[in-house]
């Protein structure tokens, strides 16, 4: 069994961290994982892409071929994701960029208010990525928030840890698609 997730956004939106956490969560469940990144030469801004491939078998090709799930925070990133999108790919975008989705993708896209929820419910727009990560967990259904929490504990503690876990939980519980 192989799952492929392709996450795109702007540098600084937490795209790389999302991919890393997702990969670590699957590894905690005993899956083989390969997580790769592509980003522009900038700390903020520019495109950032994170590719997560997890498999119960050995992984030879470590990049996404046809994604099971694509998450996009930035409309600029979507045209580049087109070759990774197949008939069964679930494409989730932040609701705020819904109107900027390329015409050929509109029918496939599910718009979810990642950033709005993060801002209004959790008072931190930064954890938008964790809300989206929760939605990915829901879509794939292999790992739970517990594994993500263990991966988060390697990086955060105290209130920051709680906030991130809360955001993942929100995405996981709220998403209906």
């Amino acid at each position: 069994m192989r799952r492929e997730v392709y996450i795109v956004g702007s540098g600084g939106q937490g795209v790389v961290l999302m991919g890393a956490l997702l990969a670590e969560a699957y590894a905690l469940k005993g899956w083989n994982v390969a997580q790769t990144v592509i980003y522009d030469a900038a700390q903020r801004g520019g495109l950032a892409r994170s590719e997560v491939v997890v498999s119960t078998d050995e992984i030879y090709f470590p990049k996404v071929r046809i994604a099971d799930v694509v998450v996009a925070f930035s409309p600029d990133a979507l045209p580049g994701a087109l070759p990774k999108i197949g008939d069964k790919t679930l494409v989730m975008v932040d609701e705020e960029i819904k109107d900027k989705v390329p015409e050929e993708l509109k029918a496939k896209v599910v718009a979810i208010p990642f950033s709005q929820w993060a801002r209004e419910e959790l008072h931190s727009s930064k954890v938008m990525n964790m809300v989206a990560l929760g939605c990915i967990l829901k879509a794939l259904g292999d790992v739970s928030v517990d594994e993500i929490q263990r991966a988060l504990e390697e990086r955060f503690k105290g209130d920051l840890l709680k906030l991130n876990v809360l955001a993942v939980r929100m995405g996981l519980e709220a998403s209906e698609f």
């Binding site: 522009d40 090709f61 470590p62 990049k63 071929r65």
Partner: protein, 374 residues
């Protein structure tokens, strides 16, 4: 449970676990994480981390530290590797062990700063001027990055040569599950068994160069990039120059069997042979496995040592299998293919390149197409 490790971090851990004592570098994507990790790790392991002003300074500092007795290393990517070339020749001529990690990105020049290329193969082997010995290893996954960093450090010391590890952006930046093997330790520098005044730093015993004593142990010698005699002082005497260069070149030849490593995969009855290295080696392995499952008779050779090249070993496989063709996928315009063709000169087996440089891995479909219809 295995742990998840980024390739660059595995390289840094490998160096520390092997006993590295000195690192000098100038950060450059996609190798920067090696410097970042070693800046934290080395001081905790009685080692020195030195941030230099550029790559020329970095390799010269690494060579200097090695001369002083500290096993040393630097890491860079294509543009920095180009700057290091002159010093690599110097290390080869002065016979100072040094290890250079080159995490390849797409070139030429600044190229694609954050994306994969595999175009530094020729430069790693023949980048510096003049004929010189060098070792080049190339890992295909995170675990191999750990192993071959240690092998490079080990053999650099053992043979007093520069050793290069050619990783690429995908291996450097990829995180995957890995179980690290027992570390290969860098051999201790030995004090020569003669008195300091009798010590000849460039004399040979059984064809190999004599031990390199650390500075401060009473043994002082003259180090130069100019042709020199056994005592290290410059010479233009033809017999001495010849003896020196013959001996330098013979280092990799003499230890060929110990140095050359490669993986053979599904070679039995293969009618098509794939030869591929670094990240494309693992991608090719997946293609070969998939095609074997469908009954296609295809096998794979993945060199892990790029120099000395596994020419006789490859030749033996080809002589035995007599394949219809050889397919060489690589993220450059045919650098490994040239080596394969050279190894197989005189045979009539066609060698087909699968070449794509666009910042990404070559898609498996392109390799499959070449195997089936190329």
């Amino acid at each position: 449970m295995s742990k998840i490790l980024m390739g660059d971090i595995a390289c840094a851990l490998a160096a520390v676990d092997a006993g590295l004592k000195f690192y000098a570098g100038y950060p450059i994507t996609p190798s920067s994480e090696i410097a970042e990790a070693l800046s934290e790790l080395l001081p905790k392991h009685k080692g020195i981390y030195l941030q230099m002003e550029d790559e020329i300074g970095s390799i010269m500092a690494a060579i200097g530290a090695s001369y002083a007795g500290y096993p040393s290393m630097t890491a860079t990517s294509g543009p920095g590797f180009s700057l290091m070339q002159e010093a690599i020749g110097y290390a080869a001529m002065a016979e100072i062990p040094v290890t250079i990690i080159d995490v390849m990105r797409a070139g030429p020049a600044t190229g694609l700063a954050t994306q994969i290329g595999e175009g530094d193969l020729m430069q790693a082997i023949w980048g510096t001027h003049g004929d010189h010995p060098v070792l080049v290893f190339s890992p295909g996954n995170v675990r191999e990055f750990y192993i071959y960093t240690q092998k490079a450090l080990f053999w650099a010391e053992k043979l007093r040569v520069p050793a290069v590890v050619l990783a690429d952006e995908v291996i450097g930046h990829m995180k995957e599950n890995v179980e690290l093997p027992e570390p290969i330790k860098i051999p201790e520098r030995r004090i020569p068994d003669v008195k300091p005044e009798q010590y000849l730093p460039y004399a040979a015993v059984d064809g190999d160069v004599v031990p390199l004593p650390p500075l401060g142990s009473g043994y002082l010698w003259h180090m130069t990039g100019s042709a020199h005699g056994e005592d290290g002082f410059p010479t233009i005497r033809p017999d001495r120059v010849k003896a020196l260069l013959d001996r330098l070149i013979s280092k990799t030849v003499k230890h060929h069997n110990e140095l050359v490593e490669y993986e053979a995969y599904m070679l039995d009855d293969a009618e098509v042979l794939v030869v591929s290295f670094a990240s494309m080696g693992r991608v090719s392995k997946g293609v070969v496995k998939e095609l074997r499952d469908r009954g296609v008779k295809v096998g794979l050779l993945t060199p892990l040592t790029m120099w000395p090249f596994f020419a006789p070993e490859l030749r033996a496989v080809v002589d035995k299998l007599n394949p219809k063709k050889i397919v060489v996928p690589e993220i450059n315009y045919g650098q490994l293919r040239i080596l394969v063709e050279w190894a197989l000169r005189g045979t009539s087996v066609p060698v087909i390149g699968v070449n794509l440089v666009n910042g990404d891995l070559i898609p498996p479909e392109m390799i499959e197409e070449a195997i089936l219809h190329g």
